[in-house]
């Protein structure tokens, strides 16, 4: 059952990933932003699988954008290399901050990640000489000189990599470790799981992914400012997408990002900022009526279907 579901999503995914290549620059730019949110949602979902809620996505996103931009501006780093640099730098920063923040749990951890994101923004906002302060920084040129197809391909490769990483993660021993931490920390400890180290690793890697996405965003649009790079949307939208698609799965955030990303794009045209209201309504409805999201629901339906095929009764 699970295999059928995974394969179906894989085929649909590859087709969707290739489609914008034949649809012109506008579709490619929408698709790029969908992929961006998709990566944020997947990485957030990996951490939340361990029961730790992070509201710091925008913080690591913005930090990645600034890391990459400043590396290009001051060090003359090639754009692609600056993405790698942002990935490593944000991962290292998250590791260090995690050393402290991960002594907290639940609500306290969530709030401290929110505060961290805000602290990044305030520091960058006020460090005029280095970061450009409230005006931000401009990049000398866009990645691939702003050419649409190569930029889209880069995002597609990064997104495919993130999806593959998440699929590997769900089959590795990390999957058991994080699920057991989420279920019951005392029991997890008693089975020899090093909770602190596991959480630290997951937090660092998922934050690094968020930094990488921020860096590619900066390189696509050619600028960073405190207000745009640390925008709360980068925290809230991935969250809504994951909830809609389905928590604790790889394909949930993918599906959620594609649906909400495209719907949001259209809504933006007709009711500016109205898409945020729609997102809010969707979150409420999903939590009330399908807490396992679309993937959970379709898995259930598929289960029922296969059971009927085999002539088994499904309760």
């Amino acid at each position: 059952m699970k295999k059928t579901l995974n394969r179906t999503f894989l085929i649909i995914g590859v087709l969707l990933l290739a489609a914008p290549l034949f649809m012109g620059p506008y579709a490619q730019s929408v698709a790029r932003s969908v992929l961006m949110y998709l990566m944020l949602a997947i990485s957030w979902n990996m951490l939340v699988s361990s029961g730790q809620l992070s509201f710091g996505i925008a913080g690591f996103f913005g930090l990645g954008g600034y890391a990459s931009t400043l590396a290009i501006v001051y060090l003359g780093m090639p754009p692609i290399l600056s993405l790698v640099f942002a990935f490593i730098l944000v991962g290292a920063a998250a590791w260090l901050l995690g050393l402290v923040a991960l002594r907290l749990r639940g609500m306290y951890f969530a709030i401290s990640t929110l505060a961290l994101a805000e602290i990044f923004r305030v520091i960058i906002h006020n460090w005029h000489g280095f970061t450009g302060g409230p005006n931000g920084k401009l990049l000398p040129k866009l990645i691939f000189d702003g050419a649409s197809v190569p930029t889209y391909l880069l995002m597609a490769v990064l997104a495919a990599g993130t999806i593959a990483f998440s699929m590997w993660f769900r089959r590795s021993k990390f999957h058991f470790a994080v699920t057991s931490i989420r279920d019951n920390e005392i029991a997890a400890m008693s089975t020899g799981i090093n909770i602190y180290k596991t959480l630290l690793m997951v937090f660092a890697v998922t934050s690094a992914v968020q930094g990488l996405v921020g860096a590619s965003f900066a390189n696509m649009y050619g600028f960073v400012t405190p207000e745009s790079s640390f925008n709360m949307n980068y925290t809230l939208l991935p969250l809504a997408m994951t909830l809609l698609g389905g928590l604790y799965t790889t394909w949930g955030p993918v599906l959620g990002a594609v649906l909400l990303g495209i719907v949001g794009e259209y809504l933006k045209l007709y009711i500016p900022y109205g898409h945020l209201i729609v997102y809010g309504i969707i979150i409420v409805l999903v939590i009330l009526f399908m807490p396992n999201g679309i993937v959970g629901l379709s898995g259930k339906l598929l289960n029922g279907f296969e059971a009927r095929k085999k002539g088994e009764v499904q309760l």
């Binding site: 005392i186 008693s190 020899g192």
Partner: protein
Amino acid sequence: MKLELRNISCGYGKLTVLNGVSLTVDEGSVGLFGPNGAGKTTLIHAVLGMVPLQNGEIYFDGERIDTKKTHTIVRQGISVVPQERELFPAMTVLENLQVGAENIDRARAAMADTLELVYSYFPILKERQGQYAGTMSGGQQRMLAVGRALMAKPKLLILDEPSLGLQPSIVHELFDILNIMKKEISIFLTEQNLRESLRTVGKGYILENGHIVLEGDADGLANNPQVTRAYLGL
């Protein structure tokens, strides 16, 4: 295998629960008995490094463990069946068992064999291996918890009140299995049900208000008038 607690004291905040307790578990099986609130669970948490000591030392196989982290102690060969909320309800029976072995190198290498062994002790777990742990009965969950602890290939298995909340026939069945298991590994259990556990343990300690008030072999305890009056209702 030897677990040695030397004069340990510990508690929570200003409250001292254990007060100068010394206790030794060698090969074979040992029981720790006492009423609610005596400190039995606290003692197990202290052994596992979940409660810091105020005083005293704990040694396992000659190595001091009271300064170590829980996961390190578990990897050194002590497995525990906690008293409550002991399973991962959102995982299947098989996954619960796998988690038991997954994080310990020597246990992971021997996973297939240990799984067969656990299934031979508890055939019901094999029947139910695809079912979510949270959907099983209390007795089956306790068996799964014991099975998961065994998956770690421990040298010492600690059980915290294994009979708690189970019907007498299931308790009897569980202790029958512990009697078979104790030929393979050492067992340290806490209990209030002396009648059942004295069939299993070779030696016992009685803990009251954080002090060891009595110790002796199983026969000695079973015939001690103080014990029979207080615990066996005779």
